[in-house]
């Protein structure tokens, strides 16, 4: 039995906006895999809820007119992993969301919910950061699109204006074309776990596969919100594909990240793992891109 004051079910995006305007205190609920847990814990007990779960127009993955990958915010993790568009253009996102919780959570949990929670450990978020994703927000003023890096404000807080909801996540064509990536989730067990650290890397190599044309790396749990490690990116961009580059790149992440010291994991431990993850994720990304790291 959940302590819910009222539940309003939206039938369409405009209907959701209207309901949110009518009930300014209401909390949006999609799959409920986080919201219901919080209600049970007492954190949101007695909440009014606007359910957007029935808005089918917010589901599905496709390529839009400009070639961007458009993921409806209500698309479940299982559907993202199974999507032919994701598998062809950005398989790493499918791999990343397949590491969320267990099968039941991946069936009910949505990518919109995963990002709107504003938590640093979200398995989809570091990959979306690493691929320069944008979020589409729909509200009373209409639709706006912002980079996901601007969407996250602080731990637990995202840039959702009153009566606004996230309706899609987009990955522009220039952000994915020619890139290959890898995501490593570091957790204490192989399933049903939250990341102690998540690392998503992708690279674009030059035609001869000998030089890193571009590289992007993002972390979850290396700070209060998902983050890019820009020093590391700069360190490796334009450099030759070789072990020294990989090592320098990995070491440079320590300039960017600031993981917490907590009972979940010590800072020194997280830093050590972060470097190792960067090394491995870059190595795998280079291999996927057709490059070879020769000693």
């Amino acid at each position: 039995m959940y302590d819910i004051k009222a539940l309003y079910e939206a039938e369409s995006i405009p209907d959701a906006v209207r309901l949110l305007q009518e009930h300014p205190e209401a909390q949006i609920i999609a799959g409920g895999s986080d919201v219901l847990v919080q209600i049970r814990e007492g954190k949101r007990a007695g909440a009014e809820l606007v359910s957007i779960y029935g808005i089918d127009e917010m589901r599905g993955v496709c390529l839009d007119g400009e070639g961007a990958i458009r993921i409806g915010s209500l698309t479940s993790f299982s559907h993202i992993a199974a999507s032919p568009v994701i598998r062809e253009h950005i398989p790493v996102l499918g791999e990343a969301v397949s590491l969320v919780g267990g099968p039941q959570i991946r069936n009910i949990g949505t990518i919109g919910g995963n990002t709107c929670n504003g938590v640093t450990s979200a398995d989809s978020a570091s990959t979306l950061f690493a691929w320069d994703a944008e979020v589409e927000l729909t509200g009373p003023e209409g639709i706006r699109r912002i980079p996901i890096r601007e969407f996250y404000i602080r731990a637990g807080k995202v840039d959702l204006k009153p009566a606004e909801l996230q309706t899609a996540i987009l990955i522009p064509k220039k952000a994915y074309e020619g890139y290959h990536g890898n995501y490593i989730k570091y957790a204490m067990r192989e399933a049903m776990d939250i990341a102690n650290l998540g690392c998503s890397v992708n690279v674009s190599l030059t035609g001869d596969k000998k030089t890193i044309r571009d590289v992007r790396i993002a972390y979850g749990v290396a700070g209060p919100i998902p983050m890019r490690a820009e020093t590391a990116e700069k360190t490796a961009r334009g450099r030759e594909v070789n072990p020294e580059t990989v090592k320098a790149f990995a070491r440079a992440v320590l300039e960017d990240i600031h993981p917490r010291d907590s009972w979940r994991a010590a800072k020194a431990f997280r830093e050590h793992i972060a470097v190792e993850m960067a090394k491995r994720a870059l190595t795998t990304s280079i291999t996927l891109a057709g490059g070879e790291i020769r000693e």
């Binding site: 007695g46 067990r189 939250i194 070491r251």
Partner: protein, 765 residues
């Protein structure tokens, strides 16, 4: 014959179709909901509780606090048989609600409401004022002079200290040329994590209290509810339906007394107390964290000259099963690797932590973590092969323990090791993994375990059974020993069918125990049930058969000694002729106008024996050193549990125990905030119970040496599978990396520390 065959579980169909009804399914929807308010300090006293705001919540029926407890009936909680000798009774240190708080999570008040939401809202609105005392979380710090004292009656917080002195340790260590090996080995606080949280409900019928509980031990619950309420035990009726696991947590009285007391405070209305998972972790029972210190003096030829064990067991805040757990491990120490000169000191110590009680293995997983880690260290120190070193020093065939009278009848250890080695291809792998370098390395390690069966001669061992013949020749079997998911009912039906001589489907096991109806028994613990129930089932089955054949004589005029029951028929043994079916006999017996009889049998068997039950684990790991991860690649357990009644169920039992051992070795630990004593990870996300994906295929092997003391040749298998897995994993990691992880679990945090200390990983800067 059914014993020895992998027949289908008697409850399989109901369980796979979801038809089985558990406590919550049985509770009427009119029940009021009880929730407990737990202390938010680790040590101190409740000064006042303000419930005025909470009482205004619509749907709140009553709020009761520790100050409402007018009659203080202190009660023990351990699910032990009662002792009529006061010196051997369990420590009675609990009240249903307490003013004196001894751990973060102690029970200080309760809300009774019409539904869960009202109860939860009211809980959040209760304001408590405390007088705080300093607290202590570390077992050895708790023993220091001046440490915060939990119970006045126990100076230095020592609940009990026991000693073993064999030979002359001090003299023995003077022998020239000895190699001294010393180590500290510690296991963490872990929890059972049965799927069904503890739940019970209570209502009054007349002046009696009726409690339905998810428990392993209904007859013991009845006694303790009586003690806790200060009422005659006959006024208490306890019913135990199917339960979703217990693993020893439910071998303790948890909240049955509180639920019954709340029910009586509100006029006997039905009250349900369904404990949330977060509270199950903290406010039920845990496994004792035990810190063991071992010193061994070894001769260069690989024999022991002298050994010493100091064992510090963290009891948490209340006595529960108390020293029995630590004492069991300490008692195993001189037996597993016999040595002429042994000193053991075992301490059970109160700390301001959740209460530790029984958990699968009852002290032996902790002891084996220490002993088998140390055995590996000793072998390494003297340059011996760990397998040969064990073979040389393990308890020999013919070893007899004077206290329990247990005897090692068979060469179980060597047979189990041989079989496990073959299953996992040990010889090849141990060579292949020598001299590895690089970031990712593999290793293979082993551990053996000591276990026994049942609790004789420490406590009462008895089992009572009743069989009631039906008109169709089938019969009900009632017994005090409980089905807790392990398949006990199936094993009982197999044994009963064999003894009486009927097809198994003619045995209707009454799974539910009802203390008003079920014969007395102390139920599921100590891996005792198949062993002890075997005696009473055999005795009662023979009694039933005697009565049936007596009536068969009346109907057939044939002498009883020429009659038998085979496959549900009365058979003349001299020529094998089937004289009548048991159904024909049973119908005639009940409805006969000349000699009507209701054929039943009931008897109690007091068991005055116990049995060793030994085995081993071999584990193979892959260690990713930079990532601080050990992954289990293969694992095998081999057990000598005597003759198996149901091999498929035995295998399932071993799988479950191995799974617990994997979590114990690699990921599980309950942790506490040093500043407040607050538990930090009391939920199934942050407490890292291992999942299917953390398990390789679990291999279960058996050696079947029939146990000569047993009614069916069987002995314990419930707890043994959890005893040796963790140290085998630890030894495999040691084999792979040369790094000894002495504090369980070998999780990423501990491996990071250990690998850093060993210089295997470096600061990247």
């Amino acid at each position: 014959m059914y014993a020895g065959k992998s027949v289908k579980r008697v409850d399989a169909l109901d369980k796979v179709t979801g038809r089985t009804r558990y406590t919550d399914d049985l509770c009427d929807r009119s029940a009021y909901i009880a929730r407990i308010l737990h202390s938010t300090i680790a040590n101190g006293r409740v000064v006042s509780i303000d419930t005025s705001e909470a009482e205004k919540v619509p749907g709140v029926v009553k709020i009761l606090t520790c100050f409402d407890l007018k009659e203080k009936h202190y009660f023990p909680t351990a699910g032990h048989p009662w002792s009529t000798d006061p010196a051997h009774q369990d420590v009675a240190d609990r009240l249903v609600l307490t003013e004196r708080v001894r751990f973060y999570g102690d029970d200080i008040a309760a809300v009774v409401a019409e539904d869960e939401v009202a109860a939860a809202q009211a809980l959040r609105l209760i304001h408590v004022e405390y007088e705080e005392y300093p607290f202590v979380l570390d077992v050895q710090k708790a023993m220091e002079d001046g440490a915060p004292l939990l119970h006045e009656e126990y100076p230095n917080n020592i609940l009990k200290h026991t000693q073993i002195r064999n030979g002359d340790y001090e003299k023995a260590i003077q022998e020239p040329g000895l190699i001294r090996v010393e180590g500290w080995y510690e296991t963490p606080v872990v929890q059972h994590c049965h799927i069904e949280n503890f739940i019970c409900y209570a209502e009054m019928e007349g002046d009696r209290i009726h409690v339905v509980s998810s428990t392993q031990i209904p007859h013991i619950v009845r006694r303790i509810v009586g003690q806790a309420l200060g009422i005659e035990w006959g006024r208490v009726r306890v019913v135990k339906p199917y339960i979703g696991g217990g693993f020893g947590n439910k071998q303790d009285i948890l909240y049955e007394p509180l639920c019954a007391w709340l029910c009586m405070q509100i006029g006997g209305h039905l009250v349900k107390l369904d404990v949330p998972r977060e509270e199950t972790f903290v406010c039920n029972r845990t496994r004792h964290s035990i810190r063991n210190h071992i010193i061994s003096w070894v001769r260069p030829d690989g024999t022991y000259a002298a050994r010493k064990l100091e064992s510090f067991s963290d009891q948490g805040a209340y006595a529960s099963h108390g020293h029995s757990i630590c004492a069991k491990g300490a008692g195993a120490f001189p037996q597993l690797y016999p040595c002429d000169n042994v000193e053991v000191d075992a301490y059970t110590v109160f700390t301001n932590k959740p209460v530790a009680g029984a958990m699968r293995g009852y002290g032996i997983p902790q002891a084996m973590w220490a002993v088998e880690s140390h055995t590996e260290d000793v072998a390494a120190a003297i340059g011996a092969d760990p397998l040969e070193f064990r073979r040389r020093n393990l308890m020999p065939v013919g070893y007899k323990d004077d206290f329990s009278k247990n005897e090692n009848y068979s060469d179980s250890f060597n047979q189990c090791l041989d079989k496990a080695m073959k299953a996992i291809d040990y010889e090849r792998k141990v060579k292949e993994y020598e001299h590895q370098t690089g970031d990712v390395r593999r290793g293979i390690g082993m551990a053996v375990f000591w276990y026994n069966t049942a609790v004789w001669p420490i406590s009462l061992e008895s089992s009572s059974c009743r069989m009631v013949l039906n008109q169709d020749g089938s019969f009900q079997l009632q017994i005090g020993e409980t089905e807790i998911g392990q398949g006990a009912d199936t094993a009982f039906a197999q044994m009963a069918a064999d003894v009486v001589g009927v097809p198994m489907e003619k045995v209707h096991v009454v799974s539910c125990q009802d203390t008003d109806v079920t014969p007395f028994g102390t139920s599921a613990y100590a891996s005792r049930q198949t062993y002890v129930a075997g005696f009473s089932i055999r005795q009662t089955g023979l009694l039933l058969k005697e009565r049936i054949l007596d009536y068969a004589h009346l109907l057939t005029r044939m002498p009883v000694f020429n009659l038998d029951i085979e496959d549900g028929n009365i058979v003349r043994t001299t020529d094998g002729r089937k004289l009548m079916t048991l159904a024909e006999l049973a119908t005639e017996a009940l409805y006969s106008l000349t000699d009507s009889r209701h054929i039943t049998a009931e008897s109690t068997y007091q068991i005055k024996s116990n049995a060793y039950s030994f085995g081993c684990t071999i584990a193979e790991v892959e260690v990713d050193i930079p990532m601080c991860k050990a992954r289990l690649l293969n694992v095998v357990n081999c057990h000598d549990a005597g003759k198996l009644i149901n091999p498929a169920l035995a295998e399932a039992q071993v799988h479950g125990g191995m799974s617990m051992g994997i979590g114990f070795g690699l990921t599980e630990k309950l942790i506490f905030d040093e500043k407040t004593g607050r538990p930090l990870n009391n939920n199934l996300l942050d407490y890292k119970l291992s999942t299917f994906l953390d398990h390789p295929r679990l291999m279960a092997e058996f050696v079947e040496n029939p146990e000569p003391t047993s009614a069916f040749g069987t002995k314990s298998l419930g707890e043994p599978p959890a005893c040796s897995v963790a140290p085998a994993i630890r030894n495999a990691i040691f084999h792979a990396t040369g790094v000894a992880v002495n504090n369980a679990p070998a999780d990423a945090h501990n491996l990071f520390r250990a690998f850093t200390e060993a210089g295997l990983i470096h600061d990247e800067r």
